[in-house]
Symmetry: none
């Protein structure tokens, strides 16, 4: 199914290669203060590229941390829908450097089994995902013969996503009027496999807790007191052993109360996503078995179900040899991944109630659940904007909209803030793959996926113009 | 009941004070290599003090670690019984230093509710217990008008007890001929309370294990893998939560098979030991409740029953904030206190079998149980030497021998080696109290207990001369 959009993209892939190559050479690592000038240079590069693409308004928005880039290209038609693209221009650190096959900031083309790949830090997360929009909007204009897009396209590309977006919510609130939109298009995710058109429909939220159990006032001689007073390490082991029941369900009271169940359609579409569990286990996981909540597939467990994971546990003597003590304290750190419509702020009471109900006599518990957390977010798969997205992706993959599968992203990001502050539905359009090694050495992007991303974006601006968004 | 022994002790307490004060100023911490010269100085000080006391033979015995002190004062009578006193001149580390009310190596006299106390590291464990023998043997000679003791008195005071006596068994074997004796008098324990004459009749043994559980090859992103692969911290919590059953019994297979039950007489004598559980909890334990094996009293739990104590547990992220990982590994250290007739060498198989039976799919376990350990030991409470000890303690407390209660020491030491290598029965004569905070900040000795220890020792040399030991 050729299309003017595809023809334009195919004829201009060199532009995409040149843009991405130049941008990826800027080591915009937001976590490392030494790279702050690079993050600033990355914002400047993007701003210049957006101006060159034709965006009439391009601004760099400072924050107390790294700068964000904002651009706007209004549709000529009064009342045309407004779409806001979200992405980020900062990248993860590169250590361990010795595991990279090519220098992380010298983009290197490699012929892979699924087509040409480009290896570099940020190749897909998230510079590749942002860069395809530069070509996509040009394809949209060329294919439709327009001089401005059929919907008003805004872009907000932040510089601190890999550092937890500490100033993003405040930026959204401060700039809410400028950012007003009918729909948010998040370009920071991917698809299930190279030949499998799919869209992400949700991201998980996050909350964390730290638990301290205290027994005796000081470490005690285990010969004099052991076996006769409560040991906080025993209490912590028992507490954490009970964090999940025999079915792998989290035992916090009320934990599942607000969980929006997967619809039959979602489960059916997720169930069709090809997934090689053995390869997944043997891959980056290097894990020996699956485990988790009974009644759910691995993809559902990591994407669509809330989880509780003990991330750290410590107490007593941890040096060489042995020390015969009943320790005074035990500690644990737990993070919870949340799904719509769980509320991070609920976790404080849930964790405290759970700890209180499971702390034995003679042990005092201290629970710290920081305010905040990350809210989960989900697309409404029945929204007409979702229909436009599915149609756009289907065209880029030469298939029908009902052949586009859905996946869920297990990680957490600032997307819920976008939906919450701006009051707009979320769509996810990304060109990444589970095999792209984001956050790891040898991150790469499959170039044909970027071309499809650009084409899907070109279709999307056309399709969204027909969506009857509610009046703002 | 005045006695010449008591009169002498009472007239010479200043000698004991002066000796102890000088010795306690030497920070003989065997665990810290930086203090090796102090441990050597401690041995030299004791050797000089023993010569000054009158021991005709005093030697410093080197070991591959810290030196031991040996002294011998033969009885004039051919065939007189031979008693070997055991103690140690090294002390525990002092951290956390900020919790000491007085500098740990500046002995400080404090008036307490039960009489004058001396605060210092080693005040009772074990310099106080050894020092009372310097005065005790003088009191014995003065009271009996002898120029040599009624039994041959040997002393062996080692320098590595607080480091697990790693070279002690070899020293005993190498010097077995010199150490030949009819009875061993261990002076490294204590009594039930200031006004309660009692003797220890057993010490527990010790074995230790370190367990590592491994899941994924590297720490994994909890958003991508959490809830779908086994978490070694969850597995460790579940494993350790099952170390004890609902009755507080250790669940290792075969753990109780060789345990010698308490006799009715022992339970009766132990049951008469006054024990203020609330005060015990409020004391050095500063613990909030008792806990332990069902069907046994607190004193039985800490003295007469075997236990398993998790001393340390660690894995994953333990720094500030949170880190969203499924960690690769979890670790735990466990020590087991053993009672007669358990065998430390049995624990390796028991721990391995228990871990193997409780490790979930996808987790690999590595169990390290060092060879060795410490054997438990027990006195024969019907031996005539025990009668002599009970009589001596009774006299020091102005009471009758059948009023002397028995207790059991929950800790572990090289005493089993003494009994095993030297083939002699064990007696325990010590002046410590459960409230002395040994191994903790503000260790102290109650000075009137030391005077009673000296008097009991003086009586003991006289009483033991009458015991018909079997021919060697």
């Amino acid at each position: 199914m050729s299309s003017p959009e595809r023809d334009f993209v195919t004829a201009h892939t060199d532009d995409l290669h040149a843009d991405l190559d130049a941008w990826l050479r800027i080591p915009s690592i937001s976590a490392d203060p030494a790279h702050a000038p690079d993050v600033a240079a990355s914002a400047e590069w993007l701003a210049a590229a957006l101006r060159r693409t034709g965006f009439p308004t391009v601004e760099i928005w400072p924050t107390p941390g790294a700068p964000a880039v904002y651009a706007e290209w209004p549709a000529e038609e009064p009342g045309a829908p407004v779409a806001l693209v979200y992405g980020h221009h900062d990248v993860q650190p590169v250590d361990p450097l010795e595991l990279w096959e090519h220098p992380p900031f010298e983009p290197t083309r490699v012929e892979g089994p699924d087509g040409p790949e480009l290896h570099a830090r940020g190749a897909i997360d998230d510079k590749g995902n942002v860069a395809f929009h530069l070509l996509g909007i040009r394809a949209h204009l060329a294919a439709t013969g327009r001089t401005s897009p059929a919907v008003t396209v805004k872009l907000l590309v932040e510089g601190e996503e890999e550092s937890g977006s500490p100033h993003f919510a405040a930026l959204l609130q401060a700039r809410a009027e400028r950012l007003r939109c009918d729909v948010v298009v998040v370009s920071d995710t991917g698809m299930a496999a190279p030949d499998v058109p799919s869209v992400v429909t949700a991201m998980r939220g996050l909350a964390d807790a730290e638990i301290t159990l205290r027994g005796p006032a000081v470490d005690l001689h285990s010969g004099s007191f052991g076996g006769a007073v409560p040991n906080p390490l025993h209490a912590m082991a028992t507490l954490l052993a009970g964090l999940h029941d025999a079915e792998g369900r989290v035992t916090l009271p009320g934990f599942y109360d607000r969980v929006r169940p997967l619809s039959d359609r979602e489960r059916e579409l997720m169930g069709r996503v090809p997934f090689d569990e053995a390869a997944w286990l043997a891959g980056p996981a290097a894990s020996r078995a699956t485990a988790g909540e009974a009644g759910f597939s691995t993809l559902e467990r990591v994407g669509a179900r809330p989880t509780a994971e003990v991330n750290g546990m410590w107490g007593g003597y941890t040096g060489p040899g042995h020390k015969t003590i009943v320790p005074a304290e035990a500690h644990a750190k737990i993070t919870f991944r949340l799904v719509a419509d769980q509320v991070p702020a609920d976790l404080g009471d849930q964790v405290r109630a759970w700890v209180a109900a499971n702390t034995p006599d003679g042990i005092e518990a201290d629970v710290h659940v920081p305010a905040g957390g990350v809210a989960p977010c989900a697309s409404d798969i029945d929204h007409p904007a979702m229909t436009a997205l599915l149609s756009s992706v289907a065209q880029a993959f030469d298939t029908d909209a009902d052949q586009v599968l859905i996946t869920r992203e297990g990680g957490s990001g600032p997307e819920a803030d976008l939906a919450g502050v701006l009051g707009a539905p979320l769509l996810f359009l990304g060109a990444g793959l589970p095999t792209d090694r984001i956050h790891s050495p040898n991150e790469r992007v499959l170039l044909p996926m970027l071309y499809r991303g650009a084409e899907a974006a070109a279709h999307l601006w056309r399709e969204l113009a027909r969506v009857p968004f509610a009046a703002r």
